[in-house]
């Protein structure tokens, strides 16, 4: 696999769309490309951010934050 193919696979990898046999091949290439490959994979995670940011924010129930913070405090006190 050359680096261009690795880049294509990496974009599929970060969204979990590689098939099992492709995943094996990708992991081998990942080892081969080392740091350069890891850096590219990290950049691909910007896709996650982008997909989330493409959505219109939804309003959460106001009780959620209160419950969350109460749980955090309870955990800290435990």
């Amino acid at each position: 696999m050359n680096f261009n193919e690795f880049q294509n696979q990496a974009r599929l990898y970060v969204i979990g769309a590689l098939e099992p046999e492709e995943l094996e091949e990708f992991e081998t290439a990942r080892t081969k490309f080392g740091k350069k490959g890891e850096e590219f994979i990290s950049k691909c995670y910007a896709l996650h951010e982008a997909f989330a940011l493409s959505l219109r924010p939804a309003k959460a129930s106001s009780a959620i934050k209160e419950r969350l913070m109460a749980m955090v405090k309870a955990k800290q006190q435990a």
Binding site: E19, S42, E49, A50, A52, L53, S54, P57, K59, Q76
Partner: protein, 225 residues
């Protein structure tokens, strides 16, 4: 394309805000811009790692809308999305020690975590059929504007969203569909091929081309933001 407008702040200041060091130079993100002097996401994560609940509170205020939208996009149930949102922020609190700034940005980490939890939830419920029906209804009913007493952050976010959507909407519909099914439904290439009655090789090509275009589009977007 114009850069996002920064509106003069009329936003209420929260009663208690932790004062953390100013944002340091970090890899550029597609995430919305923050007020000058506001703690960066990295600062908040560091404070959470140190056990500061107020930092979690700030992170929640900043991103609950985005994460809930993502969860809702996957599971299509308001009450379940709220419950899952709470669980995810609790997981952020519990797992903060595993976050590493070297590996990426806090929002990316949170989105990855939220997406995985939402897709797991969807699979557990085996609610694909119901979700599909609701998805269709939402697509038909979703208004174009999100306007309810928009705060400054929301306005900036709205600009960011518009720019990202422009990139995504520029794709041919079959590529958009393949990416949507893979990212928001957690479907494999084979599952997408079966669902759309499309050869597996075509699905792979659609995903590769679509993701590359979005990735390249984001690079240009980062330059504009």
């Amino acid at each position: 394309m114009e850069p996002p407008k920064v509106i003069a702040s009329t936003r209420r200041k929260p009663k208690k805000r932790v004062r953390l060091s100013k944002s340091r130079a970090q890899p550029r993100s597609v995430a919305p811009q923050l007020e000058p002097g506001a703690p960066s996401d990295f600062d908040l994560m560091k404070a959470i790692q140190a056990g500061d609940p107020d930092a979690l509170s700030q992170l929640y205020d900043r991103y609950n809308g985005i994460l809930k939208a993502l969860i809702l996009r996957v599971i299509h149930n308001e009450a379940e999305a709220d419950d899952l949102l709470q669980e995810i922020f609790m997981e952020i609190w519990n797992q903060a020690k595993n976050f590493s700034a070297q590996k990426g940005k806090p929002l990316g980490w949170m989105v990855t975590l939220a997406r995985r939890r939402a897709i797991d939830g969807l699979r557990k419920k085996q609610a694909y059929a119901r979700a599909e029906e609701r998805l269709q209804n939402e697509i038909e009913q979703q208004p174009d504007a999100w306007v309810h007493n928009a705060t400054e952050e929301e306005i900036v976010l709205s600009d960011t969203r518009a720019l990202i959507r422009k990139v995504i909407k520029g794709l041919p519909p079959p590529q958009q569909q393949a990416i949507d099914l893979a990212f928001f439904r957690g479907m494999s290439q084979r599952e997408i091929a079966a669902k759309t009655n499309t050869p597996l090789g075509t699905v792979k090509t659609r995903l590769e081309l679509g993701l590359k275009k979005i990735y390249d589009g984001l690079k240009e977007l980062r330059d504009e933001l």
